[in-house]
Each structure stands twice: as structure tokens, then as C-alpha cells.
Symmetry: D3
Subunit: 338 residues, 6 copies
């Protein structure tokens, strides 16, 4: 995608005194009134590097009318300081055509070749023998609207794989792991396990909005990716012939149970060997990536990372280990970044 | 339903020495072999009063072939004692036509008039103004297969409303409560709340098998009534015209969240006023009925009930309160048993 | 109450550069000394809109002597900025007669007519048939010191009904709900349930100080409103004739158990039907009000509220729902704000 | 106390075939009817060694009328076996005058000299300097009805000190510990801490019924010993002159908080140094006694005790340590059994 | 090992009336006295199929002297019934030389070839490149006393791999998994991860006694296999030259943290990528084996297993899946049983 | 220790505009580059009063080379303000010889006489009778490297005794308490309990680095003081003759279990009377000191402290109690500060 306007100023670099004239996402917009009755506009602007608050005192109503939350806007103004943080005093703000910009400036994206990753995933599904599972993937892959969205979706808002393409990177890595583990224990249904690895999070293509920023959709917040994913799979299954219902329930059970325990969002705990395995494969790939991304983000070259609030500990980088430059570039099939 | 054969012997009354010749559910059946190679058959027999173990030493393979788990069987034999508990030594066992028996002998059922309860519920749904919700109930009520099953389904296997008709009794009581509470706070969508009260547990018509005994179905154990219920509602919504998707998501959110918190099985916590209210209405009706049924079951005329293991306490009956004879007979619309 | 001096400047509106001369609560006051031995005074000033830090460098000891924590003070000075936040440099500060001010400027209060609400509650207690409960309320309502305090008490410091009159609004709403639910299930002692609805939080009249700001009293922090409320009820019961002790214990049990479970502060879990119902009525009224107040406070006109830290989620306002202007104005008897 | 009839047969020793004619507590009594309309009586009999079920087939109604739950009864009959456990077939049962029996046959009691223990506790309270605390104990000790009950009360139904005199043994041991710890840290109010040690569980004199068996009273189950104890202390404080209310609240806070955390029944967590210390003193004395009593009860001479279900572990007795014969005989002042 | 006496009678098959004359483990032995002063002996006898209580009335003191807990004894007597369970009335009991018996009769053991499994593990450690890790394994494998014990140790008392050889089976399977996962993510120290897989549970060789039955040793109960394992590794490391201490700490951290979280026994949570991976590899291999062993043990040919108390659910076997005959026979390197 | 250069400027007193020229700990140091390629240096400086961020724009690489994290550095520059907080613009920075400075300026230390405290502890260990325990302490006290470190070690980074000498103060106080409690209950092994009191936290001498600031060592974070302490004790035990292994395991069990429960870091829960007592002694001394230090730190002379986030409550100081000036000065043997 070629952007007409190239973005040069990023939120992270803006300090008091900077003169701004560039593109941002209008993340939030609130119109208020001063006691003298004059209106003013509070905004939050964002790009892939962070968020910045702003305020406009003049031409407020025109600006408010010219752009709405989620738009890409061209903004001019000056950075001042308010309550100890930089604040942009907005002079002009107009919405621009989102097709004219490079959305990668606004949402982080994987550096890997998405088409190549997808092709690997697709080729893995070609090795599936079970007819109805094979047919289900053909149905998914044959729907270009779905495929486009699936290739761009993030796997999370914050913790891990929180970037364009993240869902694909996560699913491919899990499918490769599933293939390895299916062979380690006898009696494991490999086709089912691989299908679960690829589809367990498929509802995330609708759980998230990721046009100009990654955030939950209304549907995502009300129903969760588990329920949405079940609906997506069930809908396609109903159009296929000869789907054995008890087998289909085993696939749906993988989606239902992949969080492992109710307190972590599993509607039912894993009740089949494949469901137990899938849960751990998901845990491994999420946690390892969350930790590696955290190690990479944290700029100091210290032996230990900062304290990870969610995981509740510092992580050890080692005395001599060089910090990887970009944790998103690992080859998900081989698992190697080099 | 008129049963051809009237059942007279109930499990609870069988003591060592009793000669048995009556109908039971064949709840379990395991064929084993002694060291000398001869087969024997272990069975579990049940009826509405409880369960009894049994063993057959003769004609074992014929018997094993003649009936399978879940069948209604006519059994003859003698009650002996094994390891301190009564055990039936089975002499003959044959499956009988389930249509010839009164299933009420095998599964407990409400004493209330199910058709009358259903008519009340139906009339409540006629008061709904929102067109798509009205249409959804017309679709449900117009499906005789669904209605037959909905009128018989239990609301649980053990804790509360664990009897034929229990789901209907529970939903009607909740719908009446929903109607009362919707008027207490401004801004509550009454139609949505009543729809949630009736449909939040609708998946239980498939979560449970309740032909000859109440137990979980495979689908129930793998997917839960929440997922099944969402699927049932979504399937009908797709056949209706003019369903506003964001409104439909609010109804589905009521099903998703009615258990209140993830650790109790809610996929998402309640995020709308209606979802918060529905959760409490469900809590009230389940807990009050669980306690009342426990008070009624517990035969001693003591001030305090026995210890309730799940709820973790004794309940106070009061020094002079007569124990109600049957906790299932309350009028669910008025809430009064007298 | 007519205030002699009308307050015009509120903490929320004070920005660096503003010249201040108005009334505030002196919430905190600490006298320290610089290395050169000169004293300075750190203060925290508050009103119904928030809190502001201040510092005084001159005439410090006179000021410190002239007012103490909790006083209403007239303060003059200028707002500057310190460590990124506004700070008032205090020039003069004197205590004023609290009877001369409108305390509503300093603590938020309900907009509803407190006397009317109280009259409704009182009329509800007139419908009670049980003699000793009737007598207990006559004793409470006949004590003007208690009634004055009961009508002003808040129901909480922060979460819900955290305003003058909040306890009354909460109790009246609960009593009306109790009346509705008592009729829904047979065998419920309506008089006991209504008494519990009104008295379960009565200890809050002493748990909180609410003269110039809402905060916990020493007694409140050491003993809790549950223990204080039990003491208040027991003390009056001892002056009444013919109180059946076992019945009185059931009323006291409602106070003891209304938080539902020990981890939420219930000394015993609810062990009677009435106690179980009262717990849920309290839950419903607290949670619904906490959410509605949170929805109202949160100024953006977004579909979703900000993240509610205690309840652990965003709440859905809906795409088109206008935010109510004041969540405290609901008619607690009918539950409607319109 | 000299018992007219000496009890010789204890529940623990009764095996099938034994002929019984002795005194027991009638712990439970349920009158039922057979299908033929004839009544029968199920009973539970107890003494200090355990419980035994029984059944009567003849003269049932006379027997049922002749004794009620909690009575001491003289029972004759034969022990048979039912469902793998001994069962007494009761021939005759009559209530006897409880003053004629030695209740020590029916409830376990300390072997220590209760009067001597009480005298030690009383002498400890004589060392208290704070006038109002001194006066409070004079008031308690001057009430013979209270003292009689206090000297007999158990400290628990099962876990520790579950015998006549247990509360006194526990309080004396804690008071001695409190005295030691008060001197270890500066700034601790010794009088307050000792008062807390003696009075923190004082509500147990009413929380338990312990005439013929140790069980919870209605009041105990509905209100808990914490609430009852607060009421007992407050009532006496109101009759005393010159009680500083803020000091009294600190004593009441010791009762309120002694369980340490809400999930263990503390209404408020300990908020003073004395409350924190008292909580740990209580923990130490309860746990050490629970473990020692468990070690003593468990008859095998193994290195490890059986698994303690509540504490969740086996305890180590040591390879050579002789098991103490009676864990209740420790001298609570010196803490030594030898 | 060739046993001189072949055991034919197993506890599981003993029913009332059987005449017994065979070898058992004397698991427990308690000498008591009847009121008339005569001694009697209570015993617990065990073999690989279960446990049986027994009692001896004659020649009691000789028998008590002739054998002690843990001995293999030859016992003769008759099975009767006591309180609803079989009980052996012991006539004679003498200890036999444990070297003369096949311990496999008394403790369950893997059917796999232990020497072959060990050889595979050893060859895996030959592929390690890091000198000090290589040296550490040479030191372990060069110690015949250790190797003998390591090859026999169980991995648990009950949940999974609770049989002779279980630790080896578990470690080999984990080492193979570690090898696979080490290649999936870049930057993982394969040698360290494999060393952790083999040594994380090494303390179990002393945590358990497994001569005649699997039970915890004193040291095991007091210190846990984690502490014992750390001590074993540290002791050997101190005898090796050129061990980099920071690297050694990373290996010890794998032992310290492999339970994942403090509440599951991890002293520290996993703080390196290798520690996170090792924890999940352990989880997978333990859980999958626990479930497979549970599926195999549970004799009914039902779709669902019985309820697994620790894991809190029924597991799905599938409608047509044949139950594997022996869950212990999986080839741990390939993971396949066929 | 006499410092050549006396430190006069402390972080807590530095405000924008101050000219700085003094010694600090270089806690952190990160070299970055601006877009124009020029380097700049971010530093964090600390002393016993707190931490300050700083930045250097000139001579950056020389400075970066001249000092590394943990060094004591002489810094000159000016305090400005950045994002609402003071920031030092560093002009010069050089490392100084740590032996030339008084480390007490950089880490808080007890005001008590460390040598005197240690002498008391040593004399307590002389009263020990058990030969091997006596020998163990002689071994510890005879090692001057250990003793020097033991006398300086802190007991924590933040919560309590977080100062030089804190471990000694804590252990002495606990040993005195252990002596008192050992006499209160019969059958307690006094020597073992005192040994546990002194050695339970001995691993903290390696868990923390405390040369120029208190922080966790790599070994501390990877292994915890429990594992390190066990290793330290075991290593010395192996050099002693005639150590009874089962007794040694009981001492090691005290270290293993002193945190009380796995979720608080105990590898095994306390399984001996001594272990249970030691856990409570540790709880008492840690909590009482944490609260007293918190009460002392909190500068306002209010009745209640600020909210203690970890302990989850406000603490009551009392209306008239003077705040102790220094909570670290209590005499740990008598427990009195006066």
C-alpha cells in the first residue's frame, strides 16, 4: 500500500515547543463549554508510537464537525505542557481519506511477510485427512473477505501479538507446535488438534477493530472471541455436507475450553486429550511471546527486565545476552529469528 | 400419560430380603469375567427415589444383550447385602417399551400444571412491544418440537429445579420478577430483561438428557447450556427479518453473562444494567429454591437443617414453622404455595 | 439553610494563575520547619468538587492556630503549579462559623426532597403488623436526634450513594424492593424483611462523619457499621416490652449477614430465607446505583464507560442513549427518574 | 458432682451383639410411619466417646413422649448391625434427672482443676492498672451466673479446646502469653492486651449449648460469638462510670478483629498493635492445641500422624517421641504438662 | 529378579470366606489391649492391587515381634467381614527375606524395558555440548548407587507415573519434548532445557521410599523433592571444576521454579524462557499421563470417565474409542503405544 | 568508618534551581542517541533519602566510561524540571573510591550498636545444649567473612527491617521471643526453635546486595533466601562430625516452612510444633515492625496512618500517642525503645 502522505512526526518524539503538522488517529473527541459559554474541544491523538492529549480553543465547532472518533486526521498546532505532560494546542484538524495513508504508521504491524506466513498455514491445512475438517478449511480459505481480515487481525490488544498480523503469527506457531505434540503421545487426533490451533482464536477477527487502532469492538466486549468464533465455525459447518455432529462438537469444545479454566474464561475445562494439549500450546505460545516482547520493549541493557505487572515478576535476560531488536520477526514455522 | 404397568417398588424402600419384580431405569451396565472365564454383569438401577446396585450371575450375556444404558427394564431378583449396602441379585431383566410406562416414576416432576404455567409464560411474552423480540418468541413458541422439550426440561441435575418442568417453573418465576424489577429502576429495557429471563437457560433443553433420568448430554458436557443456548437463539434470529444486530448482541450478552463472573461460568461479566439485574434475578430464584427444596427434603423437624455442603451452612427453619410438604408446588407467578 | 456567604470558586475550576478568595474545608494541616528553622504549613483544601493542595510561607503559626482539620475556612491566595499539579499559595486563612455556610457546597447531596423521602419510608413502616417491630420503628422515629442524622447520612464514602441523604435513598429503595419480593415467594416474613431493609445499614449514621466532608469516624473504622448498627438496635430493643428474643435475633441476623459472605464482611452467611433475600436486594440496589452513578459521572459521550477499577469492566451505555444528567435524582419509590 | 448412677457402657465400645442398659444423651429423635401405618422411632444417642444410631419398633409413641432432644435417657436394648454399622434396637427409653448424673460422662472435660485455673486468671486481672478495665473485670467476676458458665464453656465444638473448661484453659494460656509479649515491644498497652486475651471469645458462653453435649445455640449460629461477646461487654460497660469511650472502642476492636481477616470472620482487620498481637496469640494457642490434641488422639505410634483434613498435612511426631497421654492436662500458666 | 515364592492371592480379589496364605507388605501394625488385659494386633496389609485390614487375636506378641512396618510377610488366615468391609483374621504372620520375592507383586511397575529407556536418556545427554552440564551428567551416570535408585523411583505416590520406573518414563518423555520445543523458539538454551527436564524431579529418588510400597520418606515430607534435588545437584557441582556459578544458578532455578507458581510449590516463579518452557513441559506430561492413566483404570466402557476429583471434571473417551489396555506402556521417546 | 568526603546534599531536598555537587549512588545508566546521532546519557542517582533522575548532554561518552551501575559517584550539575518532576542536568560525574565514603549516607542503617546486638545473639547461642547445634553456631560465628556480612545484611528491601543491620535486629528479636514461647508449651525443643529463629533467614546475606543500595542479587532472584539459606546450613553441617541426619532435617524444615503456606513461599507447610511456632514468631516480628515503621514514616500527626497498600488498611495511632522518632531504635532484646 503506497501512502500519499508520508508521516514523519510520531507521538513519542513530541516535546514541549515542537511545531506539529502531520497525520494522527483521532482516538477521542469531547466538546465542552467554558463558563462564558464558549466551546472548546479536548482530543486524544494516537499513532503507533503512543497517545497525546490535545485541546482546541478556536474554530472548535467546525473541527468537531469535520472528524469523528477513529478518523485519520491531519493536525497542525504547537506542543505545550499541561499538568506536567505535553499537550498539543490544536490549530487545524481535518479528516483525510484513510485509503491514502499507510495504516502501519498508526498501528504496529509484524515485519514478517504476511502472505508467506499465510501460505505456510494453508499448506499445513492441506495435510489434513479428515474430510469434514478439510472441507471446513477450504470454506474458510475460499472466502476472500474472511481471509483478508484474518491476515490482518491482531491476537490481543496489549499482552502479546498485539499488532497487525499477530493472530496469523500466533496461529501458525501454534499449528506447528500442535503438529509436533500430536506425534509425541499416541491416540491424539492430529487433524482435530491442528484445526483447534488455527481456529481457537478465530473470533478475534471480529472481537477487535483494527482499522486505525487496535481496540475491542462492541460485539467483542459483549460476546467475547470465544462466542464469536463458535458462531463463525458453526455457521460454516451448517453449509457443509456430511459433518459428523459429535466430531464437530469436539472441535467446538476446543474453542470453548482453550483458556483452561473458568476463572480464565474457559466456559468448560478441557475434557479431551486434544483440548488439554491445545490449552498448553496456547499458554506456551502466548507466554513466551509476551515475555520476549516485554524483554525487547524494555530499553535498558540490564540483566533483569523491569517488573512485569501482569505476570508478577522481573525476567532474567542474562549478563551477556544481546537484546533482540524486534521480537516480532521470529520465523513462526521454525521458531528462529536468525 | 397412562402407564400400562404401574410401578410399586421404589429403590428407597428396598431392604435386604425383599423380593423384587418391577420397572427401573438401567442406569449403568458393565459386563466382566471371573478368573474361571465365566461372565457376570454389574448394573445400576434407578428410579425417582434413588439408585441401587445389582449383579447377575446367570444368563448374563442374554441380559446384557437385551437392554442398554438408559432403557426402562423390568427386573426380578432378591435384595441381599454386599459391603454394608443393599444389592440386588438380578434373576431376569428385559427392556420394556418406554411409551408404556409413566416416566414420572423414574424422574421427579413438578406437581404443578405444566400447560397452565406455559400459558402464563406465553401470555407474558405477548406483552412484549419490541418487534424483533416479539417475533423471536413467536418463532420459538411456534415450533412444537421445541415447546414439548422446553416444557419438560429440568433446570439442573441436582441443586434446584432438578425435576421435569423445572426449567419452565424457573423461567416463569424469573420473568415475573424481571417484570417487577424493570419498573423499579428508570431506563431499564423491560422487553429485553423479560426475554433474557426466559431465554438465559434455554440451552438446557439440549444440555440435559431427561428421557428416563436427568443427566448431562455429550453436547451439554462439551459445550455447556450457554453456548448451546446462544446457538439456538442465533439460528432463529437469522431466519427473522429486521433484527437490529446491536440489539441482538445485547440479548446474547444476557445469555453470555448471566452467571455473573467468569469463575462461575460467565464468559463475560454483566456489562449492561439489564445483564446485572438478570444475574441477580437468577441468583435469587436459584438460591431461594435450592434452600426451600433442601428444607423440604430434610425430614427431621429440627430448628436447623442439616449442613448444606455446597452453600456451606445450616439453614434456620424456625422453632415453630411447619415444613412445607412439597417445595415444588409454589405458584411461580404469585410466588405463593397457599 | 441560607448561607451568609455564597461560595463561587470550586476546586475543580482552579488553574494556575487564578486568584482565590473563598470558603473551603480544611481537610488536612501539617506544620513543618525548613532547615533554617522557619515554619511552613502544608494544607489540603476540599469542597464538593474535589481536593487541592496548598502551602503557606508567612504568618504560618497564626494560621495554624486559627483553624483545625475539618473546619470550614475562608482562604485567600494564588494558584501556582508544583510538580505538575496546581498548588494554592495561601496568604490568609481563617475559620468561619459552619452554621453560616451551606454545607451542600462542601459535600455532595441528593437533589431529592429528603423530607418527602423520609415521609414515604415512615409510611411504609406504618404498614408493619408485628407489634415489636412496629414499636421499634416508633422508638427510632420518635428520637429527633437520630432522625436528623439518619436523614443526612451517606451510604458510602465512594462507591454508591456517597452523598448527603444517600443512606435514606438507599434504604427507601430497598424497602420498596423488599415489599415486592416478600410477596413473590410464600412463607416470607414481610415485616422482618422490610425492617431489615431499613435497618441493615443503620450503623452508618455513626460509621461516617459527614459534617464538612464524608469520612470514616474512629468508631466506624474500629467497629464497622455492622457492629454499631447491632448495638443501636439492641439498645432500643432492651427498652421495649414484650420483644420475643428469638424473633429479635432474626432481625439482628439480617444485619449480621447482609454482606452475604465472610470475605465481604458478613459475620455469618445468610441462614434464613429473609436474610438471603435481603442480601440480594442490597446487592441489586448498591450495584445498580454504583453503575448508574459511574455512567453519569464519566463525561464522554462514548458507547462504553471508562474502565471501572472495582467492578473490573467497562459498562455499555449504548450507541444512542443519552446520559442522565444526575443519577441521584431517581424517585426511589417508583425507581423512575422521569 | 456425685452421680447417682454410674455410667459403664460407652458408645465407642458397643459392638453388634452387646446388650445395653445405660445412660446416654438423646441427641436426635425422629418419629416416622411405616406404609402399614405403624410408627417407629429413629434416635441418635451420644456420650463423651461418640454417637450411635438406634431404632425402636414397639411402644414407640410412649417413648417419643417420654424424652426430647438433649435429655439424658436411660436406654435398654441390643446392638445389631445395619448397613455395615452398629445400630441399637431400643427396647426402653426414659428421661432421667440430669442433676443425678455426672455430665462428664457425656461431654469431655478438662482434667485440670477448673477452680485453680480460674483463680490464676482472676489474680492476673488483679494486676491490671487501668481503672475502667479493672472495674469491668470486677463486674464480670462478681456475677456468679456468668462465672459458673464461663468456667464450664468449651472454646470450640471440634477443632481445639472442645471440652468443658476449654474456654478457660484457652483464655488463661493466652493471657499469660499476652503478658509476655506486651513486655517485648515498647508502647504496647498491657492492660488492654490482657483484657482482649480474656474477653475475645467471651461470647462463646452463649454461642454454645453445653449442658449434655457441645453444640451451637440458635443465637450462636445466627449472631456468632463475636457479636454476642460485644453485646456482653457493652452491656456491662454501660453500667460502669467513667469509661472513656475511645478506649472502650479499642477493647471492642480486639473482639471485632481477633480472627485476623474478613475471610476468617474478622469484621475489621486488626488496626492497632494490640489487635495484631492478640490475633497472633490466638492463632498460636489455637493451632498448637489443635495439633497437640490431634497428635494425642491419633492412636498409632507412627512417626507421622494421619492426614489432618482442615490443616491439610500430616504432622511429625518424631521417631522416638512418646505421645502425651492427654493433651488437655497442660498447665496453662507454665505451659508444661510435666 | 526371580522370586522364590510366587504370589497368587491379591488384595483386590479377597472376599469374605476366602482362606489366605500368601505374601503381603505389612503396611501398618498397632498393638492394643482389650479391657480384660489381653493384647490384640491390628494390621494393614498391602500389595500392588490394594490394601486390606486385618486383626490377630492369638499369639499376638510373637507376631508383633516377628515383623515390623514395611516388611514383606507371609500371612495365613481367613477373610471375614467387619463394619461392611472385608477383614482378614490373621492366624500366622512371619517376615520373609525381601530379596526372595518379586517386589513387582507389591508395587506397580512399568511394563517397559527400564534399561532401554535409561539408555535412550543417557544417549540424549551425550548430545549435550555445554561442558559443565555434560560433566554433571557423567558424574550422575557414573554413580551406580544413584543410577539404580533413579531407574526404579516413581514420579508420584498417586496422581501420575506412580509406579516403579515412573520417574524415568516421565523424565525421558519430558527430555524428548524439551528437545522439540528448544528448536521451536530462537534463543533457547537447549542443553540447559534438557538438563532441567531430566533433573527437575531428581529429588524424588529420596522423597519417596519405594522398597515395598510407594510412600513419602521423612526427608521427603520435611524438605520436598525440590530441596532434596537442589542439594543433590549442588553437591555434585561442587566436585566439578570450571562450573560457571551464574550458569549453575540458572539450572538450579529450573528446579526451584518448575511448579510454576508459589501456590503450587514453586519457590520462585519461572524467570527465564527456559524455566517457563520447562514448567509447561512438566504440566503437559503430568496432566496427559494423569488423564490417560485415569481413563485406563476406570473399567466401564462408557463415553465419559467417572468424575476426577483432583482435576474436577469427567473426561471424554469418545463413543467408539477403545480404552488402551495399559497406559504405562507408551514408548516415551516416540510417544506412541502402538 | 570515617568518610573522607562528607555528604551534605540529599535527594529528598533537591528542588528545581538547586546547584548540586555531591556524592550519590549511580543506580542506573543508559546511553542513547538522538536522531542527529549525538549521544546522551540518562542516569538514576540515589542516596538513603530517595532517587533522582538525571540527564547529561555533554562529554557523555567519557562519563559513561568513568562509572558503572552501583558505583559511588561525585556529580555536579543543576536541578531543572522535566514532565513535572525534578531532573538533574549532569555536568560532571566521576566514580570515587567506595572505601572513602560513609555508606550510611547511601543506605539507611539501624541506629543501634550492631556489635552489642551481635554479642547478645552470640551469648544466647552459648546457652544451647544440643551438641551439633552448638557446633553449628560455633562454625558460623567462627567465620569472620560470614559474620561481617551477617551483621550488615538487611532483612528486606522494603516492607520491614529494610536497613543495614535489619537482619540481625530481626533475628535477635525473634530468638528472644522463641526463648519465651519455648517455655510456654511443654515438649518444645528450645534449642531447635532458637536455631530456627536465628537461621531461618540466613540466606538473606546472599539474597541481597547491600554495598551501595539494597537490591536483590541475581542469585537471590533466581533461588530465594530459603534455598540459599538451606545450602549455607547444609554445607557447614557436612563439615561437622556427629550430626544426626533426622535432627538436621528438622532444622532444615524450619527454614523450608517458615513462610507458613505455599502461597506465601513455604515449600512445605510447618509440620512440627517448632515449625508452627517459628512461623508465628516470624509473622509477629515482621508485621509489628512493618506497622511501627509505617507509623513512624508517615509524617502527619493524624489519629490514623495513611492507607497501607500491602496490608490493606489504615492503622490507628490513637488520639494522643506521640509518634516515635525512629522505629529502628527499639532494643530488640527487651523490645523497648525507652
Amino acid at each position: 500500500m503506497t501512502a500519499i502522505t508520508e508521516k514523519k512526526q510520531f507521538v513519542r518524539d513530541l516535546t514541549p515547543g515542537t511545531r506539529v503538522d502531520d497525520l494522527f488517529v483521532l482516538a477521542e473527541r469531547v466538546l465542552s463549554h467554558k463558563k462564558d459559554g464558549n466551546p472548546y474541544l479536548n482530543v486524544v491523538l494516537s499513532d503507533r508510537s503512543g497517545q497525546l492529549k490535545g485541546v482546541a480553543w478556536d474554530h472548535v465547532e467546525q473541527m468537531a464537525a469535520a472528524a469523528t472518533g477513529g478518523d485519520i486526521v491531519r493536525v497542525s498546532g504547537n506542543v505545550s505542557e499541561y499538568r506536567g505532560a505535553p499537550q498539543l494546542v490544536v490549530r487545524t484538524m481535518v479528516a483525510v481519506d484513510p485509503d491514502q495513508v499507510d495504516t502501519a504508521d498508526f498501528i504496529p504491524a509484524t515485519d514478517l511477510d504476511i502472505d508467506k506466513l499465510f501460505e505456510r498455514l494453508r499448506s499445513l491445512t492441506r495435510s489434513i485427512q479428515t474430510p469434514w475438517i478439510k472441507a471446513l478449511f477450504e470454506d474458510f480459505w475460499g472466502d476472500p473477505v474472511f481471509v483478508t481480515r484474518f491476515k490482518r487481525a491482531p491476537a490481543a490488544k496489549m499482552m502479546h501479538h498485539a499488532y497487525i498480523g499477530g493472530l496469523l503469527v500466533h496461529c501458525l506457531s501454534m499449528a506447528v507446535l500442535a503438529d509436533k505434540l500430536a506425534g509425541h503421545y499416541s491416540g491424539v487426533d492430529r487433524d482435530l488438534l491442528i484445526a483447534g490451533a488455527i481456529l481457537h482464536d478465530v473470533g478475534k477477527v471480529r472481537e477487535f477493530d483494527f482499522t486505525t487502532a487496535i481496540d475491542y469492538s462492541d460485539e467483542g466486549r459483549l460476546l467475547s472471541h470465544i462466542v464469536i468464533g463458535l458462531e463463525m465455525v458453526e455457521k460454516r459447518l451448517q453449509t457443509l455436507a456430511d459433518v459428523p455432529r459429535d466430531q464437530a462438537n469436539l472441535l467446538k469444545h476446543l474453542i470453548v475450553s482453550h483458556h483452561g479454566a473458568p476463572e480464565f474464561g474457559a466456559i468448560e475445562p478441557p475434557k479431551t486429550i486434544e483440548a488439554v494439549l491445545l490449552h498448553y500450546i496456547d499458554e506456551i505460545d502466548s507466554k513466551i511471546n509476551a515475555i520476549r516482547e516485554f524483554m525487547a520493549k524494555d530499553a535498558t541493557a540490564e540483566t533483569w527486565t523491569a517488573y512485569h505487572r501482569v505476570l508478577g515478576r522481573h525476567f532474567y535476560r542474562g549478563r551477556s545476552t544481546a537484546v533482540p531488536d524486534n521480537a516480532n520477526t521470529a520465523d513462526p514455522e521454525t521458531g528462529r529469528t536468525d
